[in-house]
Symmetry: C2
Subunit: 723 residues, 2 copies
């Protein structure tokens, strides 16, 4: 199903350039040159109130004078003229506009107001807007270059979506000598209307697009984004460079686009959940685009490395193992083939070092054997320049071997690195011409292979994703009532009894405690709870209870508790005569001294909404800094995957004499907290710390819950059926 | 002081090529072409028994027939002919030889034997050998190209030392279009004789060498290496790429060079201790060489970023902050200058975004202002290609601005990145011509800046290094006696009483314990120790004491201990009638329940000798995996720096209600263990785990010590005086 009017944006029959110009180097002139030079076969109209003709073509005085309504408009006028232009286009019935003009939300309050007016003028007419503050849209397949970019890429099957126009021009300049083509290039600018979610939804269904690369500074409309990204990632690889990782970086991104930047770890969780490949650097994005363009999906993580130099083979191995890939183990047949082909000094293993003086025939023969080896999923060929053999001959031998393997139905990817630059450049051009992925260094090539491996792993994970476990016996209505009462009383934090009821309603085991008014009540509560108990004074005025003798531990039996309560009341009244005393809390003693202390939490991210936190807990939780977040809803597989990303996970497996903790019980708490997040839009924060965990199960010792009148919507992340 | 005969290697008056050839693409022919084509002005002799002339020059039948003894010989004959050639050269009085021939230690036992014979033939004559199994030596300053590399670099001030010949040819090919020159290039091969330590010692004193880059697979003779590296790093930056980080990588490196690979974390510690800059990847090494060649030292970590595109500015900021650098805060004067120069849409902060249509004058003016800003230590200029302005004009403006700043005495480094490739390449060539450092991406440029920052920080650290604290009151003789006795008894592990004496002799506080023979002795010991004690059965046959009732905790008073000892003896005899029972251990109870559990250890690395380990301890130490190593001897600054590299360091600072631990006491233990390592060559392993630490000090609870008859020498790492 095509997204509302985006088909008009990407396949217009006619285009009008509002603000066409012939002033050299002006945006209006460069855009006109691009529109005329791209090969677009539809009608092109120019609008400019000052000129009768521009560059030899008729210029219309205004939009209303155009002979027909253009299907797509490109707007490059002054900021104060944009709203009028959008209104006129809407009236004429135009359904898509690219607003190149800058000076909107990125400039603060006045600009934001202008942006609102622009949208208000567009929405009633169903006019979709890309931008403002962008460099435009390019669709090479129909020769549409509605941008002021410096170069037009050839047609290809990659879409590139970028919040930064500078990244668009940089990528275009980088791919130009490599002959890499694109299906769509969209500079999104301030994303007043058309955003990543819209475009991903459109491109998911677009048969001409085989892979999508994104440059992201901040996501708006996270629900739409996640739904579209998850669907698209099932069908094609999504590569994303998200900047603003560091606080100072986030500030710069904020000042740049006016978008609210969410926390980077939540972005990480969201991208992972959507099955996207996150890259960390610009070179990785560049190389990733090459990988997507020139390789096909892999089915495993076993790489064979073929090299004429030992050192670079070691470097590639380091990079492969660091990144979680595997060195392929060669079959006896392959080893025998190498013994027959190569001099006795060859490395007799993987990396396959065929020595510095290896002639082109050895590259060809060795590559052929590796492509036939069923224990190898892909091959990396490395060439070090040498005076003893011609690197370009070796490149040609590799190209011929790959071509003949492809003719015979082979589908294994071959990644190449011809090291150096002077002698290497001609070989790189040969590979580009043969559409074989080539990289400047062994590390870059291994990263390319690992991008394919990670995409393959993502697919497996998404397919295995079971439906969320229902929250057996959860009582959402009870919790809503508790929360409403607290909000009605103007409170931000639930009191201990309320916290206990919330956790109880969602089946999260909590150390039992009773709030009682007096020593007699404390004695009764001790009888009910049984075993040793702790007794604590309850007062809104006392923060450090033990400092005033307001805490007693390990009291056995009702009588002992009653006597201690009487004594405690006296101690506290003597110490703090003014303090209001509400009563006592009687609490079971935590029974598990050898258990691990975990933290499970729920908080609300500004961009992505509720996130479930898990990690190593205790009083030093911020210092241990071993936590990870995941977007709810969770199921058992997702909860386990989340737990496995922490260091405490290794301790939970059992160590020395400690048996493994009850991992199912921990996962169950995470799932239930995720359900709570979905059910209870007024709970703004929840912290269970510590959650004790050992072989017998879990037990929450302490918890706090904050509520807010401002409800937020939880994101729908339904499990995806296999594609 | 020049290293023994290395001046002959690098500045020979005459060279002989043993194994000269005219067979195309053979090593002998390529090396001959290189020797003739490099511009070497000394005499060149050829030796080949089969030909009268080669390539129009006289070929001598053998070394003995040469008219004079060559100062340097290059050997490219069959492996079985090498020993004879070396012997003849030695007899003639040649002092340096480069053995290109492969087939020695990298091929196993037979090759190693040949290598020993070769050395035996060389040593009596003081003949130094580079290689075998290398591509040779290049000294551009005297036109000496004694290698079979494919290209000769120009003269420059960087030395490149590489254990891999393939890395040499790759680096040469990479720098060729960049016009980067070298003072020395040495392919070390199997390092039978001349190794990194020799070369660093020589190059430290070489005025023509301003910086040194190393490619390392494994270090031999670590003591010499460390001494030379530390001295050299005081005078010039040392950049090192050490491969074999991963286990599989280490295996490949091992199979490749025959060198023993030490543990990678110890290499890390050694490089850090030597003040070297370790790089992780080949691109980082390549770019690092460019940085060293084209920039000068920096005095701070504040970077200003000048860009015509917002996105790449954010990317640079992310990279800078991740790497520990700082965004410069601009002075009001600079901000005012920008307001006067730039359109109102400029970013009004750092990164300084001068907008996509910025003309060359804006690059020039903004850069000039930043070079004048006293709060900025260096400037990164980014250019994104655009159709609105010419990138090459911007590059020329930057080059002119830098030139005029240099003329006025400015020394601030300018790093540049012209993004893309098609439009960017001409600008990159302009920068290369002007000797301004230029990188393909913002991340690479930031990394270049950070290499300079880290070198600057290393210098500060080395200068602040105080002399090691003497081990106050340590009794080395006592420990030697304990160790000797254990070794004489054929034991590998010291018994608990011996461990207590060793720690006591080095002033490391240990939980007190007494070994006693019977219940009466246990009662006496309990009286001596005072307070609560633990009682444990002592038997060589019982591993799990508590399983047979052989452990009792928290016993107060001699009587209670005597009674319990009697009962324990009976329990254990009933449970294990065959077990030999030596007596009891009576131990103080560990008094500090809130203390942190640390681990302090000593172990012997195969390459670097003793290393001191520090980290988060306890029974789960392997799972927590929070440890770090350092080479002894330590002082307070080094011990603190080591501690600060762990996560537990943050907990040691105090958190919530826990006061900071006694950091001096912990550092003191590390220093003392380091002294022990130096004093006691027969101690092969020591583990204190846990070492309890809190605000009151430290206390070792458990420790074990292994000894060995095979003594090892501790490395001398004397503090370095300021240069």
């Amino acid at each position: 199903m095509p997204i509302h009017n985006l088909d008009t944006l990407f396949m217009p029959g006619s285009v009008a350039l509002i603000g066409a110009s012939d002033r050299e180097h002006s945006v209006g002139a460069v855009t006109l040159r691009n529109l005329r030079g791209g090969g677009f076969s539809g009608q092109l109209f120019l609008v400019n109130p000052q000129h009768e003709t521009i560059d030899g073509r008729v210029a219309y005085h205004d939009i209303m004078s155009l002979p027909v309504a253009p299907e797509l408009a490109v707007i490059a006028v002054r900021p104060d003229q944009v709203v009028g232009a959008v209104r006129d286009l809407g009236l004429r019935g135009t359904k898509a506009a690219v607003v190149i003009t800058a000076g909107f939300s990125e400039l603060g309050a006045r600009g934001s107001e202008l942006q609102r007016e622009m949208l208000a003028a567009a929405v009633p007419h169903g006019l979709r807007i890309v931008g403002p503050n962008c460099i435009g849209v390019i669709v090479p397949g129909i020769g549409l270059n509605a941008s002021f970019a410096q170069v037009m890429p050839p047609k290809g099957d990659i879409a590139f979506l970028s919040q930064s126009g500078a990244m668009v021009t940089s990528v275009l300049d980088w791919v130009q000598p490599r002959g890499i083509g694109f299906s769509h290039i969209v500079s999104l600018g301030d994303m007043a209307d058309v955003d990543f979610g819209d475009l991903l939804e459109y491109l998911e269904a677009d048969a001409a697009t085989r892979a999508i690369a994104l440059y992201v500074e901040g996501i708006t409309n996270a629900g739409k984004f996640m739904a579209a990204a998850r669907n698209a990632a099932r069908r094609k690889p999504l590569l994303v460079l998200k900047v603003g990782r560091q606080t100072e970086g986030a500030k710069a991104a904020h000042s740049h686009t006016g978008a609210l930047a969410g926390s980077d770890v939540v972005y990480d969780a969201a991208f992972r959940r959507a099955g996207m490949l996150r890259v960390e650097t610009m070179p990785e994005l560049f190389d990733g685009i090459e990988t997507l363009a020139l390789t096909s999906p892999v089915n495993g993580d076993r790489l064979a490395i073929l090299t004429n130099g030992g050192g670079p083979g070691v470097i590639a191995t380091d990079a492969l193992v660091s990144a979680g890939g595997k060195l392929a183990e060669l079959t006896p047949a392959t080893l025998a083939a190498f013994d027959a082909l190569l001099p006795p000094t060859w490395s007799h293993g993987n990396p396959v070092d065929i020595m510095g003086d290896a002639p082109a025939e050895h590259f060809a023969g060795a590559l052929e054997a590796l492509l036939r080896d069923e224990r190898t999923d892909a091959v990396l060929v490395l060439n070090c320049p040498t005076a003893l053999a011609d690197p370009a001959q070796a490149a040609r031998a590799v190209i011929e071997t790959v071509a003949s393997s492809t003719r015979e139905g082979g589908t294994k990817n071959v990644f190449t690195t011809w090291l150096g630059e002077f002698l290497a450049t001609p070989s790189r051009k040969l590979f580009a011409g043969a559409r074989i992925a080539t990289y400047e260094t062994p590390e870059d090539a291994v990263q390319g292979f690992m991008h394919r491996v990670h995409y393959h792993r993502n697919q497996i994970l998404l397919a295995e994703e079971a439906p969320p476990v229902a929250c057996a016996g959860c009582d959402a209505a009870l919790v809503r009532a508790v929360v409403e009462r607290a909000l009605a009383a103007g409170r931000q934090w639930l009191d201990p009894a309320e916290v206990a009821r919330v956790l109880g309603a969602y089946g999260i085991p909590l150390l039992q405690s009773r709030f009682v008014a007096d020593p007699a009540g404390a004695a009764n509560a001790a009888g009910e709870l049984g075993g040793g108990v702790a007794l604590k004074i309850e007062s809104p005025d006392i923060t450090h209870k033990s400092d005033v003798g307001g805490v007693a531990l390990n009291l056995a039996g009702p009588d002992r508790v009653r006597n201690e309560a009487v004594a405690m009341l006296e101690r506290v009244r003597n110490a703090l005569p003014q303090a209001r005393i509400d009563g006592f809390v009687v609490q079971q003693m935590a029974p598990r001294s050898a258990a691990l202390e975990l933290i499970v939490g729920l908080s609300i991210d500004r961009v992505f909404g509720p996130v479930v936190l898990f990690g190593h807990g205790g009083t030093a939780v911020e210092f241990i800094a071993d936590t990870t977040v995941e977007l709810p809803p969770l199921n058992s597989a997702l909860a386990r995957a989340q737990m496995a990303r922490t260091n405490v996970w290794r301790l939970l497996q059992g160590y020395r004499n400690s048996p493994p903790a009850d991992l199912d019980a921990i996962a169950d708490v995470l799932i239930r907290v995720g359900t709570l997040a979905a059910d209870q839009p007024h709970i703004s924060e929840l912290d269970i710390n510590p959650l004790l965990a050992d072989a017998r199960g879990v037990l929450a010792i302490d918890a706090r819950i904050a509520v807010t009148t401002e409800a937020r919507t939880a994101m729908a992340l339904a499990p995806l059926p296999p594609d």
